[in-house]
Every structure is written in C-alpha cells, then in structure tokens.
Amino acid sequence: MDFRVNEDQAALQEGIRSFCEGRVSIEQLRELEGKGFESELWSELAEMGVFGLRLPEADGGVGLGTADAVLVFEELGKALVPGPLAWTHLAAGLVDGAADGTAVVGGLDLSDGHGAPYIIEHFENLDVLLLLYADRIERVAPKALDAKPVATPLDPLTPIFEVSEIPEGEVIGGAEDAQRMRFEGAVLVSGQLLGITETTLAMSLEYTKGREQFNRPIGGFQALKHIMADCFVRQEATRAVVYAAGATIDDPLAGDVSRAVSSAKAMAGESAWKNSRAAVQLHGGMGFTWEVPVHYYLKRTRVLENVFGTSEEHADALAEGLGQAVA
C-alpha cells in the first residue's frame, strides 16, 4: 500500500490543469453562459483523452484506471468545465464516437426511482441519451423525447430541459453494467465536487488575505480563519475518501466498492456545498454578486449533487449496509 499520488498521476493531473487554465478561464466561461457547450472545446477535451481515458488502448483509448480518471475530473471540477462530461466518459466503448468526441452523450439517472418532472442537462447538444435504470442501461435518440427547455436553469453553464414522459429505448447493458455505471459515475462526479471544494477554499483564502477592514486583512479575524480551517479539513478528508473510492474501483480487493463509493459521494457532496457556501459568506457583498464566480461553483454543486445519488441517498445506503452487518 502506498496511497500517495504517483509521478505519472501527478503529470496527468498537471497536464489537464494547464489545459484548463489556458482554455477554460472564468472569462471564457462567462461567454458560455446560457449555452454551457462549445463543440471545439469538446473536441479538445476528447483529444486530451478525457473521454477515452479508461478505454483500453486496443480500442483507441488511453488505458488508464478510475483513480487516474478521478484526478482528471478533479481538475475539470476546479475549472468548472461545462458539459455532460461524466456521461460521455462513461459511454466510451458503449456508444460509438463518445471516446473521440464525435458523439456527445448525456444521461438521465432513473435508478433512484424518481418520477416526473425529469430534468435533462445539455439536452440540445446531445447526440445520444442514456437512461440509467437500476437493472439496465438504455439508449435513446434525443429526438424521440418531447423536451421543453427551462428558460432559467440554476447553473448558468448547465442548460436543462424538462421531459414529462420517458420513451422506451434500446437496452445496451444489464443490471451489472448499470451498477458499474452508477458507481463509476458517482466517483467521477465526486472528483468534480472535490475540485469545487478546493477551488472555493482557494478563492476564500485569496480574497480574505487581500481585503482589508478595520485596518487589517479580514483573513486575520479568527472567526474567518476558523471557518477556513474547517474548509481545509473538509477538503483533505474529501480528497482522501474520493481517491480511495477510485482506487477501490480499480482494485476491488482493496475494499468494499459499494461502501467506498457511497462514502465518497456523500462526503464530496456535503463538502462542496459547505465550502461554496462559506465562500459566499467570506466574500461579503461581493460574494452575492454575479460578477464574482463563487456562485458558479455553488450552483454547479447542485447539478453534481443530484446525479448518481445524492449525499442523503448515499448516506442511507451506508446505514443500510451497516444495519445488515450488525446482527
């Protein structure tokens, strides 16, 4: 056991980080408000290997593992890269063109049994829609759905559409595939939530070190320092549990996959939310403006919280598991 990020992984993460810094700045994100999608960016992400990362090399992929993918998604989360990233990544190998970026794949997670209204992200940019049920995966052509755009989505970078009826699709995976997709999806999204947890703390630190009131940096007030210390603890705990979930999916003998995934998603959802809320508070009035990008993070957190199981659903699953283990 050596749980540290190894050199190859650090290099992979660094590559994605510098790509995002150059390509997905806050200014560029502002341009994408209301659209949340840019096909050029999508192709570049595909070229970077974001979608084919875990596809075997023989099939045209990069042949890496879930732990590696988590690091990539952490960076995508930090940079707030928009689009149906996790779904397209999960569809690589399952839907032609997903890995190389020629097919944009979205999805709707119905495995929790929720009913209408059905909200689908990025609908108008999708080539294929996956329907994830508890016991199967289906694919449908988006045009088979009667989808109404929602004029004001919570996340300005994630357009949503409302659908009231779900058509029957073509079954492309069974119960095991569905479960694997749910686990992997939860871990990838946890990676993004980890990225949000980190970036919102970094923003709070930068702001409170620079802003002065009462003739000193507000970051020197203990009431704020302690909030940020708690944000840091949350960040470190989340990093550890999310990486552990990725590593456990890669090596199921290292732990209990279902528990590792639920612990990660429950933790990451809570942490991203708490750290983004803290960031709003620590920025004062600025934190309530559209101009300061903290709200993008807060809003994206809700999008990511509500897919592949909410924090509460994963907490319930963990309790269920523990209840069964205790006679």
Partner: protein
C-alpha cells in the same frame, strides 16, 4: 494510489489477529478506575505480552526492541488492535505514543538505549509535564524554572493536568532554562525521574469521576543534565516533534475503533424501542449514521494518506492537526448519537436493561476532553489557518 495491503501485510494481519483472539480474553477485565496499582499492572502487563509476542513498537527500530515493521504493517496493527477490542494503551500512552518516539527522534544513543527497550517491555511508565496553570494553549508561556547546578538542573515549578503522574516512572518535562530569552527560545525538554526528591503529586478528580490527571509541584528537584533531550534552550523545537506525534499517529487505533463505536450505536438502536417501534427504524437516525460512516471512512482514508507520506519523512506533517481536529469532533458526534439512542437508559453510568451504558457513558464523558487535551480544537484551527493556509497570525 495503491490501497491494497500486500500478501505479507495480510499474513501479518492473520498472525496478529489469531494471537489477539487468545490474548485479549486471557488478559481479563480492566480493574476499577480507582485502583491505581491494578491499572498500572493491567496496562503494563498487556504491554509486556505485546512485547513478548513481537508486537510492541511495530514501527520502532529493531536495535531497541521494536519490530521495525513497514508502515502498512503499522496500519494493519492499528486496525486489528481496534477490531479485537484489545486493552487500551492506558498508562503507556505517553511513553509509547509520543515520549518514546521523541526520544527515538531526538535523544542521545545513551538515552535511547536506557529508555526505549524498557518502555517497550512495559517496565517504564511516562507522563507529560507540559501544561502549567499559566501555560495551557499558550504552552510557551511556561514558567517552571531549571537552573544548572553542576551535573544537575534544579527544577522548581507547578505542572497541571499531568495524566497518570501517580503511576509514572519518568516525566517528559518542559522547563525554562533561559528566562531572559524570548519565550520560545529559553525552553528545554528534560526526562525527569519521578522518584526524585521535591516532587509532590496531587490528583485532580475529573468529570468521569476518576483522577487521571494531577497537579505536580516541583521544588528544587535535581534532574541530571544527561537527561536533557536536544540542546539546552532548543526545547521548543523538540516539543513540536512531540506534539506532531501526539496529534499525528497517537490516536490511530482509537480512530479505527470509532468504526466499532458506530456499529455499537446501530446495535443499541436495534435493541431499544421508542414510540412503539425499534429506534433503528428512525430514518433521521439512520441518515446521521450513514453520514458518520462516510466521514469515518474519510478520516481513515486521510490517515492512510498521511501514513503514506510519513513513511517518506519519518514524522507526521502539519496535516496532523487536521486529523486530530477532525477525529476528535467526529468522536464526539458518535458519542452524542449513542446518548440520544440510549435515551433514559443514558442516565445510568452502569449497564441497565442489558445495554452497554457504562461504556457508552464513559466514552461520551471522555470524548469531551479530546477537543481540549493535546491542543484544543481552536488551537488546531489556528495552526491550520496560519501555518498551512498562510493567514495572518494571532498575537503571541
């Protein structure tokens, strides 16, 4: 990012597990909290058994009697000890978990040869004489004076909250050797034999009803100069080594044990009834249990990451403060949850209705000390925000 234990680790786990299965029940029940000779004998007797079986000081150097095991074997050790509900380190806490490690890191050859094997065998019990009435969170304000007089330091002062002082053989003692230097610069770290003349120990009752800590009055106590660890006046640096161990690795087994405590909550919840239904059916309770499970898993993953890093540096990093802070606050949440589940049964400090109330209440009361001892939660937050996050410092 490799999480899997090796075959050798698993073999170690199996051997240790098999040994614990016999050894733990054979060691019998812990004596009453008021029976000090009994407690010392029980705790050091267990330490001796660990030593004889080759499990004492898993990460300590072989030349002083340790096992020199890999870092993963240490983690396996912590997990198995917790799982087996093995006796707590008890009076061996200071010697095994931070005093000993400090001597290994900072001590002279002579000091190591003299103390380390005896600590490992359960022959030497240590206590920690850091805090003073005027120096709690502001530890560097300590005033206990040590004046050089030939081969000895003559030590005079007043220590407080000294755990296990009444059964200790040695004390890791902080003294002021240079009163003229600034407060962090004039401190030294001494090994004080507790049988020297001039030491007066007065136990203080705790909220648990035991007297695990004491006041220790020192008057002209002659501590040999050879017992100085590190350089004279360099004691603050040595202190930080001690505190890193105290915050970083000292709680590993209890941390894992928390998983067991959470299971205990579930078990109790399945046995008690309220409003005509089994308490475990309460969805709000279950959800909190689920969140705690997620957070305990996060804590243990953090520990694994930290141990993987410590393997490279030999000493826990500043992140130890984050782990200590998180662990102690989670511990309190688990205990409070148990208290809520017990309801009126939790008014009893001994087992009632076949429920493990004695243990649950002792743990709950004790949990309140964890965010105070070893540096309060507020102090840990100061350390994190200033030294890790680079925010402006508090006045000091």
């Amino acid at each position: 990012m490799d999480l899997r234990y090796s075959e050798a680790d698993e073999k170690f786990r199996a051997e240790l597990g098999a040994w614990l299965k016999e050894a733990v029940p054979a060691h019998g029940k812990a004596p009453s909290i008021h029976d000090w000779p009994g407690r010392r004998a029980y705790d050091t007797g267990w330490q001796r058994k660990l030593f004889d079986a080759g499990y004492a000081g898993v990460n300590w150097p072989k030349e002083y009697g340790g096992r020199d095991a890999t870092l993963t074997e240490q983690l396996v050790y912590y997990e198995e000890i917790a799982r087996a509900h093995a006796p707590y380190v008890g009076v061996n806490f200071v010697g095994m978990l931070h005093g000993g490690p400090t001597v290994i890191t900072e001590g002279t050859e002579q000091q190591k040869a003299k103390h380390i094997p005896r600590i490992l065998r359960g022959e030497e019990v240590w206590c920690q004489g850091f805090s003073e009435p005027v120096a709690g969170s502001d530890l560097a304000a300590l005033q206990t004076r040590a004046v050089r007089d030939g081969d000895v330091y003559r030590v005079t002062g007043h220590k407080i909250w000294t755990s296990f002082a009444q059964v200790s053989d040695y004390c890791e003692l902080l003294v002021r050797t240079n009163p003229d230097a600034s407060k962090h610069k004039g401190i030294s770290w001494l090994i004080m034999p507790m049988d020297l003349p001039g030491i007066d120990i007065r136990p203080l009752p705790t909220i648990i009803g035991d007297s695990d800590f004491s006041e220790v009055f020192l008057e002209d106590v002659p501590v040999p100069v050879e017992n100085l660890v590190g350089e004279e006046n360099d004691g603050w640096r040595v202190t930080n080594v001690t505190l890193r161990f105290e915050r970083g690795t000292a709680f590993a087994s209890e941390m894992y044990q928390l998983q067991e405590s959470l299971r205990d909550v579930v078990e109790i919840a399945k046995r008690v009834t309220r409003h005509g239904v089994v308490v475990w059916e309460d969805r709000a309770l279950r959800r909190e249990v689920g969140h705690l499970q997620s957070e305990l898993d996060s804590l243990w993953a953090m520990m694994k990451l930290s141990v993987s890093e410590t393997a490279q540096t030999g000493m826990p990093g500043l992140g130890a403060s984050a782990i200590k802070l998180y662990y102690t606050e989670l511990y309190q949440r688990v205990c409070e949850l148990a208290l809520g589940v017990l309801g009126r049964a939790g008014l009893a400090r001994e087992d009632v209705g076949g429920l493990p109330t004695q243990d649950a209440l002792r743990r709950m009361l004790n949990s309140l000390s964890l965010t105070i001892a070893g540096g309060t939660s507020q102090v840990q937050r100061n350390i994190i925000s200033e030294r890790i996050l680079g925010l402006p410092r508090e006045p000091r």
